[in-house]
Symmetry: C2
């Protein structure tokens, strides 16, 4: 596996590979790999001639400084794991922003709800860095995890609106044995909260199971889920919502798919999870 | 010359040409060509294997509905002129925005001054459509006129910040025999205002000539120019300013280049012009 730190080197390398008619897959990550990331890489390796994994903790998408500063990093481990899977290139830039950076990509409406409401500026940082990565790597296909469902909806809209010639693949959520969605943040949980964390997914499943076709009990189910979660000491629900997928609007009878999504603080650690429900 | 109206057709055509190792030039325009446009096209034809001219009146960059509605159009004439110069492809889309368009590119600071202050949202529309054209055409080089100097500064910043692999060429202002900068809007001037319009450039030249090396008489010269222009009946100065080029900041002793720029209403017609001064 090649490790490339420089933007122009990566650009030239991929341009050469594209001229050789190689099909290029990109897996954008912030490192500290878990099985969710590895699954995206395996998918790309199986579908593409060349897999590029970017490993960059993007400061622009953090709305809290303490969250950025405590974000876990382990490059040596990441390198070994990606290499084992057969990743061809790891892009590991020192920074992607020059000191006079002034340009931002914003996606309206889709970013006003869910995590966009709780984390001002987060999706502006995400859309901007992904736009940069798309321009640097110029992949045929990019792999995103369903765990960050809103992120995927935002990037899909950006691809369409800005005419990127890139296919987005959304890959299912990978979970621990007890159902907790894999996340780089899980290691930050206290042992007590780690034990209780699966209740989050259980509550989303309960909404999925009990939701009536006319959605008339939606608010009641959401309230019950919030109450159950907030009965755990140190737990605060940021939001639990049911929206249309992928438009993220108030669902109605015309909605074909729903996103049942939540964000829950276990102590200082903010976890997100979701279920996409076909109607 | 090929006329291509469809995004995917253009994309496929250019992708084929790039694989043939052709060097691609893009001249983004809003049509109604004058010698300024034709000069950009000639430059591209002389430097590139393939010249693509986009001809699209971008609604997103108009801050006034009446300005958009009165913007002059003459496709048959444009086609004949471009063909004569040797343009290879004219991209003439019906629209570049889908009804659910939500994504915008903004460039901070550079767009807070000059035309950015007078025309809210204008440069957001410009940056977004140019980002789209860059992704659709994927050119090696893009040609912009110095008449829209702030636009060029904004696009150059966007290219750098979003990692587009595109070279921007800035081409000098082309003028009528009496000094008036060529513009698609000049045809909208009354005969009286057309006669007086060259005073605008004369005043910019006067600032250029009389400006002291320490810039101490800058405000005085600007005030004199404004006064002279506003003595013409029906004329209102939007702004005349002297900023550092290309950073568009208050100039000081460290500035190597200055932009002496103005925007002046002759009746309802807003004209812009500028001089880039080397120090």
């Amino acid at each position: 596996m090649e490790i490339i730190q420089n933007v122009d080197s990566l650009r030239n390398r991929v341009e050469f590979l594209r001229k050789e008619r190689k099909y290029i897959g990109l897996v954008p990550t912030m490192g500290y790999f878990h099985d969710g990331h590895l699954n995206l890489m395996r998918l790309s390796v199986s579908e593409c001639d060349v897999t590029v994994v970017s490993n960059y903790v993007n400061p622009a998408q953090f709305d809290r400084r303490d969250d950025l500063e405590s974000y876990p990093i382990n490059f040596e481990r990441d390198k070994a794991l990606a290499e084992e899977i057969g990743v061809d290139i790891m892009f590991y830039p020192q920074t992607l922003y020059q000191s006079d950076h002034k340009t931002w990509v914003t996606v309206e409406k889709l970013t006003d709800v869910l995590c966009g409401r709780s984390r001002p500026g987060h999706f502006k940082g995400v859309a901007t860095v992904v736009c940069k990565l798309f321009n640097i790597v110029n992949p045929h296909v990019a792999y995103f995890g369903q765990k960050d469902a809103q992120q995927a909806a935002v990037i899909e809209q950006m691809i369409k609106d800005l005419n990127f010639d890139i296919r987005l693949v959304l890959s299912p959520i990978i979970r621990e044995h007890d159902g907790l969605a894999m996340s780089s943040r899980n290691v930050q949980l206290t042992p007590e909260h780690r034990k209780k964390a699966p209740v989050f997914y259980e509550q989303l499943q309960l909404i999925d199971k009990k939701l009536l076709p006319d959605l008339s009990n939606k608010e009641m189910l959401i309230e019950q889920a919030k109450k159950t979660l907030e009965n755990i000491p140190g737990v605060r629900v940021d939001y639990i919502e049911v929206l249309s997928w992928p438009h993220l609007e108030i669902p109605d009878k015309t909605s074909h798919r729903l996103l049942i999504a939540g964000a829950v603080f276990f102590g200082n650690v903010r976890l997100i999870d979701n279920i996409i429900k076909e109607l």
